[in-house]
Homo-oligomer: 326 residues x 4
């Protein structure tokens, strides 16, 4: 089902090509599997999010699967920043993957012998409480991914750590022994992944959609955030995620990464975007796509497509006849 090709640009294949945050066995691969199902695809594990996204920009992959947010650490900065700048990319789908780690080691290692654990910093953050309660004094050795920690341990070469915190899939794949499973401070923890493509693939609205945006604040004052939020509120568009990111040129300048409820095809979303475009120096549309949880927005009175069209028709009639009511 899956082929690893070192140079994807040389393949003449018509099978869809997926770049993803590798290595194999990470949570990202679980997200990828939600997308591809049993389909015959090519997939390219990448060493980081930026590389995966750049493959789509370069045309060497059709899609990228990357994490965008998790319920403990918040937005994945590399993903948000890469989507926010450079050539436009579109999010076309989101996938949720429950977060549950196993603590694993080379066969023969006992839990009480563990002194140093390697894993990705996000994974460490999501298990800090469990580690503190069960393995007091153990320290963290950062890895570039949860799977790479497992891979290094299994490589047989001497390492500065004696256990890895990774997915069950990785532990099995690398032949490591599971010392503890279900390791997670928050049993409801979940990571959100997105499927990213080039523009031209806007998914159809389903009635339970999400629109991802990035907007720079108009100026350096707090009132600017209020004004930006009002552009959504006056059109009855609710936000399901809002995260600040430093713009990077000096302290105190922020852009905001936003998930709004609704689809670009919805009149209220279009109206909010028009408003945003007017008041923000930079706005980027990063996709409208179905919500993984299928929840439909509760629309306020006066915010349906029909309400917007009736209102515009009324104003048009005023311009025509110079009069109108209601």
């Amino acid at each position: 089902m899956t082929t690893h090709t070192t140079d994807p640009s040389r393949t003449g294949s018509r099978r869809p090509r997926y770049a993803y945050l590798g290595p194999e066995g990470t949570f990202t691969e679980s997200a990828l599997l939600q997308v591809t199902g049993g389909e015959d695809t090519e997939s390219f594990p990448c060493s980081d999010v930026v590389t995966a996204l750049e493959m789509v920009r370069a045309g060497t992959a059709d899609y990228a699967v990357v994490p965008i947010e998790n319920s403990v650490e918040g937005g994945v900065n590399a993903t948000l920043d890469t989507l926010s700048t450079g050539e436009p990319l579109l999010i076309v789908r989101e996938m949720l993957v429950p977060v549950a780690f196993v603590l694993c080691a080379l066969p023969g290692t006992r839990l009480e012998d563990v002194r140093q654990i390697s894993t990705h910093p996000h994974a460490w953050a999501q298990c800090r409480g469990w580690i503190g309660r069960n393995l007091d004094g153990v320290t963290h050795v950062p890895a570039t991914s949860t799977a790479s920690a497992a891979a290094l341990l299994a490589s047989g070469e001497p390492q500065s750590f004696d256990a890895a915190l990774c997915s069950e899939l990785s532990a099995r794949e690398y032949g490591l022994e599971v010392l503890a499973s279900g390791v997670a401070d928050n049993p409801n923890a979940v990571t959100r992944f997105v499927l990213v493509a080039t523009p031209g693939h806007l998914p159809e609205p389903t009635g339970a959609d999400k629109t991802t945006l990035m907007a720079h604040l108009p100026d350096n004052e707090a009132g600017a955030l209020l004004r930006m939020l009002e552009q959504f509120a006056t059109r009855g568009v609710n936000l399901s995620r809002i995260e600040s990111r430093p713009i990077g040129d000096s302290l105190g300048r922020y852009s905001f990464s936003i998930d709004a409820e609704g689809h670009l095809a919805d009149e209220r979303v279009q109206a909010a975007l028009v408003g945003l475009h007017r008041v923000c120096p930079i706005v980027r549309f990063m996709g409208s796509y179905p919500r993984a949880d299928g929840v439909r927005p509760r629309l306020l009175p006066g915010t349906t497509d029909a309400d917007f069209r009736a209102a515009r028709d009324w104003v048009t009639s005023l311009l025509g006849s110079g009069s109108g009511s209601e």
Copy 2:
């Protein structure tokens, strides 16, 4: 120049026909003169504002000239209410007339003999302070207009009052003796009049325009007023007048009569109207016309016509290509 016709519908004349709040000699006639200049017109003095406006609705007059607001008493309820309901009418021009009264009486009357003064209640309100300081103890006899008070006095029949507070024009016209002139509590007092026509005569935008609206609040709570005002604020439309009027069916239900800066042809005004139409159960457009004071609005960044068009074009391009930035 002016012809009084008892039955204007019988005239075959092509001269423009003006109904106005009469009788002759009131401030309304001054406002009418600003409109007609030396032109050959027909004019019909009416006993009240409603009659003047209904003549336009009935087609027996082309225009009505009526007061809409004065700087002491506020909005003229009869004008606001008649424009707000019934067949649509359009305000096509506004005229300002400074408020300055004379106190006049039959020849031979001395100021110190004055005990009761007749005038329109609005005129009385604008001179209350002056009367209190100069004619302590004198009381008010309400008249239907300042000119009618003068007319009654000049009629020779016994009256319950011995002086009238009216315009200098009226005093002269009725041969009354001026006991005091420049009577006004506020030397800057001014009355605003409007020229009203049937729909189909929307004046061209001048860049210094005003739009008059009436909107019912969406519901019975205070937050509703905030939400209505935000529809203007998010589009950068400033308000130069806002007055509450009871809707009349029960206490605590209000409509708002509003003058907004800008013309129906302005994108920001159209956008505010679309928003208003969505959130208010009833909205009525009552005209866009040049401001008498010629003051141009200070536009906030992002609220010019070009800003609105660029924003809409951007959203349209997103819908086409599924991607866009800025």
Copy 3:
């Protein structure tokens, strides 16, 4: 029960003295009766609202009963303006009186003979629709009160009108014949009256109270109204009435007359007043008193007295220890 004294200052009586908008037989007297019940009082009918209120200021009456708002014509300007300026007065109670008129005339007059009707302009406004449907072409002769129209008609002297629109009480009192009763365009119409006293009589909070205020807008722009309303909204104080009044020095400058839900003793009302005092150049407190309809406010989370006290205690603790949470 009631004594009319021409010079109330000469009475040595300890009976409470009420000035009210007369003459006898008006709706104001009905409101007065709600206050006095069967009590032994002195009452002074006054020719206008200002006179009644000034008697309280001068100490020649203990209380005044005056109309403040009706459901058709809106706020009673003379009452609002007199309470808003000059020596402070306090509203200590409100009374609701249903509006229902009779059309009456000298005995022998037939309904179809009526050509001109005299009444107070507010009464006329509340019956315009009925008159239009039942007595087409009949015109209005303004009177200073509904009762005075009846009194003039009954005086036997020739008048310019042949019927009066007044209360049933007045018709009976002056021996006029009722041609039509229950005359009112809106069967739910009601007039709100207030009982006014000198400061020092703040009524106890009942849990269903109202606070009346007057505030000048901070400056000449529309945003100023938004900012003023936010001072209420951020403390969860709902408004049951808001009416604009021109400040009177030039067009476009407004004060707002406001009824807020709650009592001066409520923390949230105090906090809103502190905010208002900071942002408005002039604010006047005109009383906290029980609502005639007994409706209690729905409090938003975080706006009870306990919430305010807990929040202040927390800030105080921070100042003490330099630290705190929650």
Copy 4:
């Protein structure tokens, strides 16, 4: 001047004890030097921010110096999260340190030979552009600090990387050769550090102060953020930093980390805190301290301490006498 003690609790010294994010030679040590100057202190380099802060909580250090925000990567999550939960700590000072890295390697390494660079992920993020332009294809090996990357390289043991990106101080300390200096994508980049102590040390207001807060949003909807921001806006308190953090129990729930202009001793800040305490389920005060840039806030009319006191005095006088104006 500085003593390293492995067990700080055993020292009987009266010299102030500082825990900081080590190892020696990092930017954090530059920040520490700004605090201690030439003073005789004890200092304890810690392996991570949490450890440094916990030493203050445990009483084994008097102060901690930790990074809180940088102009490229945004807030330092570990610092924000550790200050936001657990035993209260107070920020008592902030220090700015310009960000400028050197790329260094073992003597004899040439720039063109570099394939893999180790450094802390935040440092990597701040130099990504420079690396791309000058060392295309080079990859990142994450380190726990910029200094630890240098230390590992200098250790002589084989490493998976051949260069380190660290401070000039570290390169010198570890005897590495500088291949490139002034490495930074943004020449204005700066990192903000804070000095943290136990409660009881609230610094005096200087007129140019900052207050750090953490607040949970009242509920799961976007309007909640608007309402929280209005608590600041209605008191004229400007925000210089606002960053979202996931609360961690499920996607879509956020707390906000905020720097507000002003000191806890300022009336407007106290009033905003009272409002925040009422509307947010959790609020934490994390200190008021002088701004490193010395910028004083521009106060809006009505927001000085005197304005607040006058407003409260007025409300108090109303409660006393039942009347008041202005």
